[in-house]
């Protein structure tokens, strides 16, 4: 990544540009691998890209960035993803 010398409003790509947006969550998706049919609906419908597609087409939730919107759980037809309230720390 080449950085330019000229001082103007140029920004460089960064994952987590707004920080660890997982901290925004009130609910988190819990994944049950046994129920997963590898349809990838949750992967394509996640607005954040926080559903990581594994090599075997199952998924892993990226809790660092998942904002807990619940679309994945809503769109999963086999309830392999369900939303649970975040535990208070």
């Amino acid at each position: 990544m080449k950085k330019y010398d000229v001082v103007t409003s140029i920004s460089y790509p960064k994952k987590g540009a707004m920080g660890k947006t997982g901290s925004w969550r009130v609910f988190r998706p819990i994944f049950d691998k046994d129920k997963c049919v590898k349809c990838l609906r949750c992967w394509i419908f996640c607005p954040e890209g926080a559903i990581i597609r594994n090599k075997d087409d199952t998924i892993t939730v990226d809790y660092e960035y998942c904002k807990g919107c619940g679309i994945c759980a809503k769109e999963c037809k086999v309830k392999a993803l369900v939303m649970e309230r975040e535990e208070k720390k």
Partner: protein, 301 residues
Amino acid sequence: MALKDLPIEECVLAGSAACPGCPATLAMRTVFKALGKNTIMIVPACCTAVIESLHPHTSIGVPVMNIAFEAAAAGASGVEAALRQLGKGDTTVLAWAGDGGTYDIGIQALSGAIERQTNFIYICYNNQIYSNTGIQRSGATPYAAWTTTTVGGKTEFRKDMGEIIKAHHLPYAAQTCVSYPEELYRIVKKAKGIKGPKYIEILAPCPPGWRFPMELTVEMGRLAVETGAWALYEYEDGKTTFNGKSKLILEKKIQRKPIEDWMKLQGRFRHVFKPSFNKKTIQEIEQHIDEMWDYYRTCSQ
């Protein structure tokens, strides 16, 4: 085209400033899977300009030129011309704007860029409001919708932007929705392979703007199509073909669902249902939708 065939690479980086449940980033992820990294994106003032996050960082993995609200298509014309001069005509020029920057303030530049046969893809992600500035009405806002500037409900029906675009007789146009990612991928991929101006409009249900729970973004898009409030179609070589449920509605093979099924789930239409059911408003909307579909039937023959 199955979901598993879609590329894994992400051009939208997680941890952006988007609201949870945002249809813009949802659509953008699929769009970039179809376009790839050899793309330059032009973004006017809109939610995406904020979703990019704060300088000195950005959440977008392709070159992005932000530009003034009304100027997306004009900026894109300049980028496209420069790329041609540099021998980089294979780089996709993508203008990505909201309905405000497309239907209203940006319509002049868009019309001009299409008329000049600018070789670019213009995508309007339509959340039917000026969302970024806090939910004010736009030319895309439907009849009776609450917004901060139509507090009692909008008193005019929305523009049919697709018809305006088709009147330019451009090579390709499409109307689609965030809820159908395979279709969106196919449409964007198709547009990428066509020379000249291409217009794609994606209905983008906005949880804070339409006032619905954030997990219903995709469901809200489906219901818009199933009730006939939004049509899925493609326009190519002067012919319009409808897709999915819209095709069945057009051909009268299925009845479209009552518009209430879509409206009652959204807080922006709450005043139509509470404190009492406003039958007159619903009838006006149903009639308007019927007329829209009758019109579509005449042009799709």
